[in-house]
């Protein structure tokens, strides 16, 4: 399978600590790739490097067959690479519809247009319907529960019609019913050709959903394979249990 995203020797140091240390891997197009590893293994830092929130000290990445020399969140989003945050970041004072419409890709000349045009509203309402939030469409996003905020953030990044979505712990702090719902969304979207790279601590979710699984430890790739291969890999067990 063709790789949609590749990382080659990515390195990021904070002072003397290398949070990500020469990390290389690929995300196959059309896959749901998992990124797992013990706390502090560099998963979120890696996300920040891949999405341009942090500048890498060394290494290279490509997205959709192109070199990305200076990753920048806005440009990457427009190229089709987007992410969610661990803490479900939304715009609390904007309404749900506004939260979604902000994320529509706009050409410069359209900034004088009405904030929420009819096609944007229609698409926003469709997505809210899909995520079961449509009856709250006009409410301020800050009034949502934590789980609903996670759903809203998920829906928001879909407004830009991405090719690859990076999810940072999509099921953390969410009740079991919602976990199942989020899983269904991921599976459904993946069925339509959307690629995912997921950081997740809930191993049951990873085992059910993801292939391949990439294991990170001390900022480098420790192992990669199918869920069952990973589960029986002694190095992985050691990293998680041995410490």
């Amino acid at each position: 399978m063709k790789a949609l995203l590749t990382a080659e020797g990515l390195t990021k140091r904070f002072g003397g600590v290398a949070a990500v240390d020469g990390c290389s891997f690929a995300v196959p197009e059309g896959s749901i790739t998992a990124l797992v590893g013990p706390n502090g293994s560099g998963k979120t830092t890696l996300f920040n490097l891949l999405t341009g929130y942090l500048r890498a000290d060394a290494g290279a990445m490509t997205f959709a067959g192109r070199n990305v020399r200076r990753p920048d969140p806005t440009r990457l989003y427009r190229a089709g690479l987007t992410r969610t945050f661990q803490q479900a970041r939304i715009f609390p004072k904007l309404t749900l519809v506004e939260n979604l419409v902000v994320a529509v890709q706009q050409p410069w000349r359209s900034i004088v247009r009405r904030a929420i045009g009819r096609p944007d509203r229609t698409r926003a309402l469709e997505l809210l319907e899909e995520f079961g939030l449509v009856q709250l469409a006009g409410d301020a996003a800050g009034s949502l529960s934590y789980g609903q905020k996670k759903l809203l953030e998920f829906a928001t990044v879909l407004m830009g019609r991405p090719r690859l979505v990076l999810l940072d712990e999509p099921t953390a702090g969410v009740n079991p019913v919602l976990v199942e719902k989020i899983e269904q969304h991921i599976r459904g979207l993946n069925g339509n050709g959307l690629t995912f790279l997921i950081v997740e601590h809930n191993m049951n979710v990873v085992m059910r959903l993801c292939d391949p699984v990439i294991v990170l430890d001390h900022g480098t790739k420790l192992a990669e394979g199918t869920p069952s291969e990973i589960q029986s890999d002694p190095r992985v067990l050691d990293a998680y249990l041995g410490g």
Binding site: Y53, P73, Y77, T82
Partner: protein, 332 residues
Amino acid sequence: MKPAAAARALVVFGPLAAFPFLVHTDWIVNIGVFTLMYAGLATAWNLFSGYTGYISLGQAAFFGLGAYTLGITFNHVSIGSGYRPFYALPLIGIAVAVVSVPIAWIALRTRAMTFAIVTLMLLFIVQQLAFNLRSLTHGSQGVAVPQPTFSSNFDRPYYLAMLGMLGLAILACWYVRGSKLGLMLFAVREDEEKARGVGVRVTGAKLIAFALSVGLTAMIGAVWGYYLFYIYPESAVDPLVMIGAVLMTFLGGKGTLWGPMIGAFVLVPAQQWALTNYGATRLYLIVYAAVFVVILLLLPQGILPSLGELATRWRFRAPRSNVKPTPKRAVS
């Protein structure tokens, strides 16, 4: 424009336009000119700082730039019957807005407190330039602006020009609020990092808002310079004018459409009233401060948002037992 919005604008601006034709007492119209000036400055400040959350303390630099541009230009160009400088205002606004873009681009590489300090420095740099570029500004001697010979009601044209500027500022804010640009700015104010992550071109949006705000400020500065005839560095680039406009915006309601203007309409007359009644002693400053403190104590978010909140609370009065607890923010 919806009929309701048009009606609201008419209710506000109709009486304001009629005011100088009904009142012929010069000193009252004079207070009117300054009230409108501050209302315009506060509204223009709000267009950038209120909507993006970036506190700029440097707008007064562009106020001075507008005043000097008008003063210096009309030392070389005839003012005609006296109205010509008013027609030049849009050009001054556009010129200063264009000049501000590279400056803002550098300043906007910083955020929050740093941005406030950088822009404050900008104010003092421009003031020092006004003192020292003597061939252009005549330094501390100041630039004399040619005086028009409006027959009677001398203040009226200036009053109407200031009103026009305020109207323009409100119109600009109203338009931006309803546009995609407004949505982008609000997203920046809420969470700039997140906004970048969903494809909002944050730097461009901030630059456009800054240029708009500064262009309006410069036009108001130009009218001010023409009204006073003499433009001095310490009065044209005055930190107190800046602080005044910022305080009025906070008082009326930062980020709202009408708040800054309401803040100015409360504070400027209150200041003048305190000055005329208690000006002989230094007490007037205390009275001025007291007005401010009392309003902020009673309406902590500013007049408009606090009143809005009171109105909603009153409308949705519910028996205590039915009050839903507000959802707590998740901590992670």
